[in-house]
Point group: C2
Chain length 384, copies 2
């Protein structure tokens, strides 16, 4: 299959690129390196040194013999997007090309504006490219479990049957996103659902949980094939950040009470989920939604599990709750359904102490690169 | 009260400006004349000749003695927005400043992109101006009943209590908007709901039905105070367009079967609803939603009522169903709740034959300005 990967330079984009190229697909990696700009703006560096994308593609070819095509451009430039679809006629488009951080989007007006502009309008151009240029492809869009928020009812996969005043309908699950970034994903989902319906497109929305993990089979092949792993307040995800804090001797810093619950999955499972979505096409005209995570944990469960694993590695990790910079419920119902991906074959890689130990060991190799200032960057949901 | 009216040059903005200024409020009219540009792009003129906004403000002062302050600028320029909020410290902000047409947004990629860019990001700047510059004001935002689509259950006012698997919550009513324009309104609502909650803002979202009518008490005062009345396919609303078709001797052109049902209200009631929202402040921190319409009609009911009224005016109006350029249900359940505005005092001006007769007479005075080419402009939801 010809597979276009939008946002191929990122934490998930690059491992996905290598994984699918290794499987023999013709993979085209697309990025505009916006994320590297956002890092520079905020003085952020990923844990592992990351080569240029051009270099990573070359190294991947040297090591595996597999060729990945690189195209550099911005989804906000619709001529660039149209040209991709016209020349390459992709079977599958995997769309990671969005500003991925809640805290970044909440930093100030400019970043909120930029996030929604970049994410929503970039995706709109992709939808028009499908409609106007090359309809016969399947868009796999990365969404987020955050689209649902934390309602007091069980979360379904994208849609819910509602019975109301003696009548019934199956409607999009109500959205309660907790940041301007999460809102951009909701806007995307609404746009995609509409475009899919009126134009008969093939689309899958993967409402992904919080991803953790430092490596995949392909990133292990060469140090210059590492993925862009973040531990900072803006782009680092909970489990990853806690592990780096533990290694650096900094207390792990759960926000508030720490009873917030979220769905989590390993980065290796992200690749498998995306592959399963690609191999199992949706019907045209109806946006398919999968809830993409494998386990639910509270933040406190995470920090305590990491503390135990760290102890086995000879690290005495501390936990120090900090004021919650977000506005979110810290104690709430959380029972989201997630059966559709296992139904089509996902065998989850569950979080175990041994997995955390291997993460801690890998992170320890790069301990001297950890910048402890990046753990707390003071982005607050509401100015005090 | 100091009242900022964003989009004050439009069909509703200008009558609202005059109405509230007449009531003694200090009104600041804000526009960037984007709508006049969209008209020029498409060769569209409103039925009545419309003077410049500067001239209209001058005439209004000559006729009534009331001064309206005019500020020209674009909401996408946040410095302009911040300055408005900083200098004027409005008590009320009435926000009409959006691209208001479904068909315009569906014309092509550029107009869809422009609509979402203009509407969603302009509103985002307004929210940040409230948060960063002047929090103590009440945002009254014009939304649309189209946000809900046509679900097979009764539509509530913004929120619905859902019972699911033995648990309950009150959640935002699921959105199923039928165009990229309507989607922009849903994106706005989601952004406003979030910003209201985290920053404790005072906001009201008016999910308005289809507005009809040619005049208000103030537009009648002088020919140069007329409102920008559209009958074209892009900016003309159903009832207004049918009346102009009838007067011009063109058949009325319902789309498809014509059993589509929508909520309608007279332009005079729009002014009253907005005033009622302003006089009855919401609690901070929770986006209030009113469904703003007074009657439900099917398109066929409208055309037949107009036909009868036209007949009384000596006009033999014909009805000619055309292929539906939209993708929408033509026969569906439609029973939206709309009690909150009547609860706070709205006394609806209902559609009667005499009202339609007065519309037809007024339109007849401008019969020589009707451009019949504008009735059918061939914007289709899906390319054939």
């Amino acid at each position: 299959m010809v597979i276009l990967i939008l946002g191929a330079d990122g934490y998930l984009g690059w491992p996905t690129t290598m994984y699918l190229a290794s499987k023999g697909h013709e993979v085209i990696a697309v990025d505009n390196f916006a994320k590297r700009q956002w890092e520079l703006e905020n003085g952020i560096t990923p844990l592992f040194p990351i080569a240029t994308m051009h270099r990573r593609v070359d190294v991947f070819k040297e090591v595996t013999g597999k060729e990945v095509i690189l195209r550099v451009g911005d989804l906000l430039n619709h001529r660039f997007v149209y040209k991709l679809f016209d020349e390459l006629k992709p079977d599958i488009v995997i769309h990671y090309a969005e500003q991925p951080s809640g805290p970044y989007s909440m930093r100030d007006r400019a970043t909120a504006f930029h996030t929604q502009n970049n994410n929503v309008l970039g995706t709109l151009n992709v939808l028009f490219a499908m409609h106007n240029i090359h309809n016969d492809c399947h868009l796999i869009k990365l969404g987020t479990m955050g689209e649902y928020g934390t309602p007091n009812i069980d979360i379904e996969e994208g849609y819910i049957e509602i019975e109301h005043k003696g009548r019934k309908d199956t409607l999009p699950f109500p959205a309660q996103p907790p940041s301007f970034y999460h809102l951009s994903k909701v806007h995307d989902s609404n746009n995609i659902r509409f475009a899919t319906r009126i134009w008969g497109l093939k689309t899958t929305n993967l409402n992904q949980g919080v991803v953790y993990g430092v490596e995949t089979d392909e990133t292990k092949l060469h140090t210059e094939l590492e993925t862009s792993f973040h531990y900072d307040e803006l782009f680092g995800t909970a489990l990853n950040r806690f592990c780096v804090q533990a290694v650096s001797g900094h207390p792990m810093t759960p926000y508030g009470k720490g009873d917030q619950k979220r769905g989590f999955l390993n980065i290796v499972d992200t690749l498998k989920c995306v592959e399963l979505a690609a191999l199992n096409q949706p019907e045209p005209g109806f946006m398919r939604v999968f809830n993409q995570f494998t386990e639910v944990f509270s933040i406190n469960e995470l920090t305590h599990t990491i503390k135990d694993s760290a102890s086995l590695c000879g690290i005495e990790a501390e936990i120090s709750h900090v004021d919650n910079p977000r506005i979110e419920m810290e104690d709430h119902h959380y029972n989201p359904v997630h059966t559709k991906l296992t139904d089509i074959g996902l065998k989850p890689l569950l979080l175990r102490k041994t997995l955390i130990e291997s993460m801690l060991k890998k992170i320890s190799e790069y301990k001297n690169r950890i910048n402890r200032k990046l753990f707390i960057m003071n982005v607050k949901w509401k100015k005090s």
